[in-house]
Amino acid sequence: MAISIDEAVPAPAQAAEDAPAGRRRGGTARRVIEVVLLVALAVAMLFPVLWMLETSIKENRDVYAVPAKFFNFDFTTIHYKDVFVGRDGGRSDLSGSFLNSVIVAGASTILATVLGVPAAWAYSRFTLKAKKDQLFFILSTRFMPPVVVVIPIFLMYRELGLIDSKLGLVLIYAAFNVPFTIWMMKGFVDEVPAEYEDAAMLDGYTRLQAFRKFTLPLLVPGIAATAVFALIFSWNEFVFAIFLTSSQEVRTAPPAIAGLIGGTTVDWGLVAASAVVFALPVLVFAFLVRKHLVAGVTLGAVRR
């Protein structure tokens, strides 16, 4: 029989009932303070996001209005149109950057997943020489901030002709995502009993076929969660994008949006609208796999 927490521990509620009136009033005051503090924190945290949303739908003169207009501003969708449509009526530069972001983030995530998932499987299933050291080395590549290596990588890329190319960005993002994919996926693979593969091998499959046909389908939720994390990293990445790309044809969205600020005038409405458009895909993906994201983050936290 399942016992809910409430049933199992009635004691604290009883104690509150018996507590003297003074202490109970203290409890109420404490609650009020808690709620006030949490609301203040929430407003402070969410204000930039709300302000960005508001700015993206305000008429330009309301954007610059002093004092700021919180509610009674004139509504417009012109900024969103500007994100996608250029002044000459064709495609805007920004929309090109968004497309680049989709290609680079998508391709690097696929590459990292294709390389990382089999590696994670191998690390989970096989006894290897110095396995722990190998895994630690793989993880250690994530210890250092990207900006530390950006100059050497710039020089290497220049020699290899990868500078200012989407392929270059795809490779560097995949290189950063593979270690992460291996570590997160290893946790998921560990959870799938190796016996499925053993049984399949006795039934006539090779080791790789057994992995593909039996273990891989059970890993799909894990792969989805891992891929979303990798996608978020590639999608948001700024440092490499701004150092390694220069032309409009290759530039991804983060440096492109940053490029809108500066010069003599700043079109804040356009900046806000492009930021909203930029944030949306990640939010949608994260929402779709939210259950698995939690599983991925807490995996191995509790030993069964």
């Binding site: 396995k131 009993p193 016996e195 499925y196 053993d198 091998m201 006795l202 039934d203």
Partner: protein
């Protein structure tokens, strides 16, 4: 059906761990052979090498007359049952049973016949349309057994198949496995760490320790004359009393004045240890002829028997198995005497049986 020959098996993993030091086994056709040992003794690795799931570092494995060292698992014509059942989670019972047959490419008509036969044998007819997550542990293990026997393999390999079942179900399934093996007459290699399982199932038992075979024998041989101190302490519950003895005046004399009959051919000038089963000792009233004085440290009444722990001034407490009619209380002064045949005697330094 076929026997299995394992010669000079050695398995060392790339990280340097040696799972199997050296194992030689000769399993006869139609035999239910149990490999018994504590965890890490190499029994599962040996079984997995037989199945082809691990490649041994050196040594040969023959199934029947075929050398199978380099054959993939599927071509060895064996079936395996795992501790975690390993039923394919996305398939119904029916399709789980049919899976190995379809993988072999048998015609669908024969697949259906064989599945029906196995299902009747293991009484699975009511469960055929369920998926594994809707089966209890015992039901899952019965499906796993059925999946092994639809293939009509040369040999069954069982890797602790009962460990995950609760006690009552374990006893039932144990009987079922024994019955099934007798009925089919197929060679079966059964790995377990549970000595009760080993004793009740096996035609012969191999006791493994630290990657080596310590003893191979029938359950009674293994029980009556353990080949080493390790086997002596591993088989039997409560375990054998190990008593340090000296030979003098034609008898084995232990500490506290306990006298045991000596086996012939005892070596001299070595420290000897006699192995005395709890049922080969007897608690008597104090002062009974031939007994030594002792004190009852504790009494465990198990219903069908009572286990007394006695202190007879010999350093180590002794365990004595008595019928439930015995009436001695804790702290009683009692007598203790030997009531069995000649005990096996071990050399303390080599830990091996000497007489």
């Amino acid at each position: 059906m076929a026997g299995i020959e394992v010669t000079n098996l050695h398995k060392r993993y790339p990280d340097g761990t040696v799972a199997v030091e050296q194992v030689d086994l000769s399993i006869k056709e139609g035999e239910l052979f149990v490999m018994l040992g504590p965890s890490g003794c190499g029994k599962t690795t040996t079984l997995r090498a037989m199945a082809g799931l691990e490649r041994q570092t050196s040594g040969d494995i023959r199934i029947g007359t075929t050398l199978v060292n380099d054959l993939p698992p599927a071509e060895r014509d064996i079936a395996m049952v795992f501790q975690f059942y390993a039923l394919y989670p996305h398939l119904r019972t029916r399709d789980n049973l049919a899976f190995p047959l379809r993988a072999e490419g048998l015609p669908e008509k024969e697949v259906r016949e064989r599945v029906a036969e196995a299902s009747r044998m293991m009484q699975l007819d009511a469960l055929l349309d369920r998926r594994p997550h809707r089966l209890s542990g015992g039901e899952q293990q019965r499906v796993a057994l059925a999946r092994a026997l639809v293939r009509r393999p040369q040999a069954f390999l069982m890797d602790e198949p009962l460990t995950n079942l609760d006690a009552e179900l374990r006893a039932d399934t144990r009987t079922e496995i024994k019955h099934l093996q007798a009925q089919l007459g197929t060679t079966m290699v059964y790995v377990t760490h549970d000595q009760v399982e080993a004793m009740s199932l096996g035609h012969r038992i191999a006791i493994l320790n630290k990657g080596r075979v310590e003893q191979v024998g029938t359950p009674l041989e293994v029980y009556d004359r353990p080949a080493s101190l390790f086997c002596a302490s591993f088989i039997g519950s409560p375990p054998m009393n190990l008593i340090e003895v000296e030979v003098s005046e034609g008898a084995l004399r232990g500490p506290g004045g306990l006298v045991l009959p000596p086996p012939p051919g005892l070596p001299r000038d070595r420290t000897l240890v006699a192995g005395v089963r709890p049922e080969a000792l007897e608690v008597t009233n104090a002062g009974t002829e031939g007994s030594v004085a002792a004190r009852v440290v504790s009494a465990e009444a198990l219903g069908d028997e009572i286990i007394y722990v006695l202190d007879h001034g010999g350093g180590r407490d002794l365990r004595v198995r008595m019928p439930p009619t015995a009436r001695f209380a804790t702290d009683d002064s009692v007598g203790l005497r030997h009531a069995g045949g000649t005990p096996p005697v071990y050399d303390l330094s080599t830990e091996e049986l000497v007489a």
